[in-house]
Symmetry: D2
Subunit: 102 residues, 4 copies
Amino acid sequence: MIAEFSIVPLGTGESLSKSVAEVIRLVDESGLSYRTNPMGTVVEGDWDEVMGLIKKCHDEALKQAPRVTSRINIDVRPAKPAGRMEAKLDAIEAVLDRKIEK
Amino acid sequence: MIAEFSIVPLGTGESLSKSVAEVIRLVDESGLSYRTNPMGTVVEGDWDEVMGLIKKCHDEALKQAPRVTSRINIDVRPAKPAGRMEAKLDAIEAVLDRKIEK
Amino acid sequence: MIAEFSIVPLGTGESLSKSVAEVIRLVDESGLSYRTNPMGTVVEGDWDEVMGLIKKCHDEALKQAPRVTSRINIDVRPAKPAGRMEAKLDAIEAVLDRKIEK
Amino acid sequence: MIAEFSIVPLGTGESLSKSVAEVIRLVDESGLSYRTNPMGTVVEGDWDEVMGLIKKCHDEALKQAPRVTSRINIDVRPAKPAGRMEAKLDAIEAVLDRKIEK
């Protein structure tokens, strides 16, 4: 499955870059395939891998902040092989017949 | 923690009421405290309870549909006691000094 | 259309009840049909009404906070008559053949 | 402001690549700065530019599908200059002291 997630600590000021960097450090250590964009991080793996990782990120955020909110968006399509993060973008480029901004 | 979630199967037509009813059946059986609104269901429990339930709903949806998308929004505030679904609405009513539409 | 939205100011502490109360005050003044749940507010209206209202709420939040994040989830089904917030919940209850927790 | 959005038509099958390609065509024509990721498209502009564009994408999707759902996530921080899509990623890389997967 593919999941995009974003973790926002509340009560620690308006800058989130340190908190996001910590999330990416954990994502990177997980060994899962991922891509970070300006609004969240997209990871690919099975449910337990992905949710285990997001829980770990959540727990880390809770060490720094009294309240943590997150959003997770999931896309599961069992008939498709792994590598869907790239395949989805490739499919769009195939329709448009050109490269897109990623 | 409190989580709102919504599970949308793709490839099974535009009506979602049967699929949503199945989700609510599973939520109800879970024993967790919950409330359904026109755009999703809000549940309260610890991470493993809530995510275990959402996974079960997801798996059920995948029996009917070739692709399933979900969104989950989480709000964790460890210092607050259980019963936050009601407490959050009460706090808003206290500020407004009147009942709100729920 | 139906839209659920949630506006979260950053940099003003972890309590959001005053900010949410202000949103609900504006929603209430808009005259649009709405329902508040523990994770957001669902409103019904046409695109310009709903988005105009959310923009107003956003602008209000920006008077108090240096950074504001929001999430909006939209569901549009033109063939259905107005009153979909109730109709969606009724359709689920019809499938389950019982009342649900709202 | 920065907004990530994703538009999902219902009732037209489980493949979304044509619909997403059409969205990206409109985003590209808008002239706004944007980046597409496997779960959505991030654009930068002022409220009316961004929301006008999303409405246009929505209207286009409604020509093809009987029901359309969307999610929009917004991040506004008025004190920061334009170019925040890049600046946010740069800030994370500065904390981590290395390049990240984008």
